[in-house]
């Protein structure tokens, strides 16, 4: 009997020990969990504070483009803090970076953001005079040559007068309605006018704002090596050519590269018959004629800055100037793609039907499929009302539908250039 009681007691004690162990482990895990959740919360809030510091830096730059320094702050609800240091060397061709540390409950997290200027804040055309569009004129923007994501492009003129600031002209007298196609804002200090078709995201008259200007005096400061001829190639230092701004004519037959930090001064007319490239500066005390070519260099970050005391002509290689009359050719395929909506570059790839040809035959396929769409086409074209399947914007749809008259030409062009 005694033996049985002893065994029962030992059993009860063992069970209690096991229960205590389980309870202890549970309490330990629970405590860790609470600590873990608390730690995650602190880390998240600290990260949010660091992000707030980045946006605070962007706001500071929006008020002062030269801003460098430290911004600090405290988030209203969480009381988390941030310290964001801005290092700004954009004006000297450098970078713009923000290092922002957020802190909450003793936890710190740090973000480093590299910022770049947004094309939205610039006017691609910013002038004081009237703007004439002879048949078609386009203004848009990219993030940078290295990363040429489409951005809204703006055009502005300060012109105020009896006539409208923007004028459209049908110079071929073939009934072409002049088109001003602006992917951002079209603004003027005076009247916008109505002699053209306008496609712009926004437009407004009565807008008064000063644009950027080059300072030719500053550009011509320093010492220059005088030469009597230039054939092209890469300039190695500041160079001056031409003796008389009124009569001298400098013809440069081959492409001239003006590197960063180098300035070319031309006294008199300058004819850059092989084009200009580089990130340097050019001052022409006279007229400048620049013939372009089909080469685009994504590594040219800024491009060359050209100031002319008189007028500038920038010509397509197949265009002619005959007694200053412009003769140009219009490639309708190029003109079709020039009118591509900014959104199309993003929208087209979403839910693209598997049956769609990825090449020049696409537009032929599209114009056939749009008249008898299957479910896959319909999802791509119209979407289903969700963010995952948004469909195409009306602008992109209209642009695609406009391809019908030249769909075969596009296919032929793509095929003929496929070996390049």
């Amino acid at each position: 009997m005694k033996r049985s009681r002893g065994i029962a007691l030992i059993t009860i004690l063992a069970i209690c020990a096991v229960l205590l162990f389980i309870l202890g482990v549970g309490l330990k895990l629970g405590g860790n969990g609470v600590l873990f959740v608390s730690q995650v919360h602190k880390r998240n809030v600290a990260l949010s504070a660091a992000e707030a510091g980045v946006y605070e830096a962007m706001a500071a730059l929006a008020n002062n483009k030269s801003y460098s320094g430290l911004r600090t702050g405290t988030l209203a609800e969480s009381k988390a803090t941030y310290r964001a240091r801005v290092t700004n060397s954009l004006s000297s061709g450098g970078s713009l970076a923000v290092v922002s540390t957020g802190e909450f409950g003793g936890v710190k997290r740090t973000l480093r953001a590299e910022l770049e200027p947004d094309a939205l804040g610039f006017d691609g055309v910013s002038v004081d005079g009237k703007v004439y569009v002879f048949d078609q004129g386009y203004v848009n923007a990219i993030a940078s040559p290295e990363n040429p994501v489409a951005r809204p492009g703006n055009m502005h003129t300060q012109y105020i007068g009896a006539e409208a600031a923007y004028q459209g002209r049908d110079f071929g007298e073939d009934g072409t309605q002049p088109l001003v196609h602006v992917t951002g804002g079209l603004t003027s200090n005076g009247s916008l006018g109505n002699t053209y078709t306008r496609t712009a995201r926004t437009w407004a008259s009565g807008v008064n704002k000063a644009g950027y200007r080059l300072d030719p005096v500053q550009m011509q400061s320093g010492s220059f090596t005088t030469v009597t001829s230039l054939l092209g190639g890469t300039l190695s230092g500041n160079t001056e050519i031409g003796t008389d701004p009124d009569t001298s004519v400098t013809k440069i037959p081959n492409k001239l590269i003006v590197p960063k930090g180098v300035t070319l001064v031309v006294n008199g007319r300058a004819e850059f018959l092989g084009g200009i490239a580089g990130d340097g500066e050019v001052v022409v005390n006279g007229d400048a004629i620049i013939r372009t070519d089909a080469n685009f260099d994504p590594n040219t970050k800024e491009g060359v800055k050209v100031y002319a005391s008189k007028s500038v002509f920038i010509t397509h290689p197949e265009a002619e100037l005959e007694d200053s009359k412009v003769k140009a050719q219009l490639d309708p395929i190029g003109d079709y793609f020039a009118q591509m909506p900014m959104e199309a570059t993003v929208e087209l790839a979403i839910d693209m039907p598997t049956s769609a040809p990825r090449g020049g035959a696409f537009f032929t396929w599209f114009n056939s499929a749009v008249s008898s769409p299957d479910s896959e086409f319909d999802l791509w074209y119209n979407g289903d009302g969700t963010d995952i399947h948004p469909g195409l914007s009306q602008e992109t749809k209209d642009w695609l539908l406009n391809s019908d008259p030249i769909k075969n030409d596009i296919a032929n062009w793509a095929s003929s250039t496929s070996g390049l």
Partner: protein, 165 residues
């Protein structure tokens, strides 16, 4: 390709000779509307002191692979973004003239156009001319680029978490 290209004889403009005078710069463009000649005469021709500009055409050497270009646009073959356009040529930079700026034909100016500050100055887009803002064209000039708004709109190019300082 040639069959697809329409040659347009566009308007006489700018420059034109110190002999001045209205009535249109030269008589070779019979198709030019009279009212446009009048515009040129009254607004541009008279103030332009330089000699007439004569520049011949040259060969356009295409650099664009059409099949790849369209494939990229549709999401294949890497980046969808290519600033090149069929038939276009390119100038990369910022241009300022005291008088007139003329972009003749399908030229894409990747940078910007400023100035045209003279009282009767004009900017002229001919037949598909395009200006594409490159914000970097407005930077890096330090002392030679002045004016503009006091602030700078920016966008995040890269964002990464780094060890705490």
């Amino acid at each position: 390709m040639l069959a697809m290209i329409f040659t347009l004889t566009l308007q006489p403009t700018l420059a034109g000779g110190s002999s001045g005078g209205g009535g249109g710069c030269g008589g070779s463009s019979a198709a030019v509307p009279a009212q446009n000649n009048a515009y040129i005469a009254s607004e541009v021709y008279d103030d332009y002191a330089s000699a007439p500009v004569n520049i011949g055409s040259t060969t356009y050497s295409n650099t664009l692979n059409g099949e790849e270009y369209i494939a990229q646009l549709l999401g294949d073959g890497g980046s969808r973004f290519d600033p090149r356009l069929p038939g276009y040529s390119y100038f990369q930079g910022l241009v300022q003239a005291e008088n007139h700026v003329t972009i003749a034909g399908q030229v894409r100016v990747i940078g910007g156009i400023t100035g045209a500050d003279a009282a009767d100055a004009t900017v002229n887009f001919y037949g598909g001319a395009m200006v594409t803002t490159n914000p970097y064209a407005y930077l890096g000039a330090e002392d030679s680029l002045v004016g503009g708004p006091p602030g700078l709109l920016t966008r995040i190019k890269t964002l990464e978490e780094i060890p705490n300082p």
